[in-house]
Symmetry: C2
Subunit: 83 residues, 2 copies
């Protein structure tokens, strides 16, 4: 059984209001040393597949078509072995 972990982040230059808000809040409660905060998504899949090539193809398609907005988001994924 294979697993996939997908990291979805905003492309460079795309504004991140959620991250900016978090950054400001952390400053307000006294945390120093933060310059920028950006938020992304982490999607963990357990796949009913044993073939890595097939898994890669499925995850690539999911990322492109459903899980990300390619206009503003970028993604990276790794395929691993499940338990």
């Amino acid at each position: 059984m294979l697993t996939a972990e997908i990291r979805v982040t905003l492309k460079e230059g795309v504004l991140d209001p959620q991250g900016t808000t978090l950054n400001r809040s952390l400053e307000n409660i006294g945390y120093k040393g933060l310059k920028e905060v950006r938020m992304g998504k982490l999607i963990q899949l357990t796949l009913d597949l044993n073939d890595r090539a097939q898994a890669k193809e499925l995850v690539e398609e999911l990322c492109l078509k459903v899980l990300t907005n390619p206009v503003i988001e970028q993604y990276q994924f790794t395929i691993g072995e499940g338990k």
Copy 2:
């Protein structure tokens, strides 16, 4: 300048309604081969620090006190070099 990337995921056994909904939706639109989907958060920090030990301490504290709910969530982070 250092950066930190924090992965926040639900602990094993904690229900993930968002992931379950996504899984069901993907099945409904015809994707086969998915067994489980779990959603997490990715938080990327750019730090105004140059000392790794200090950065690690700050991020550890942020994770424990602010960024995660230790009852249901777990976290992992890496410290990297920024541009």
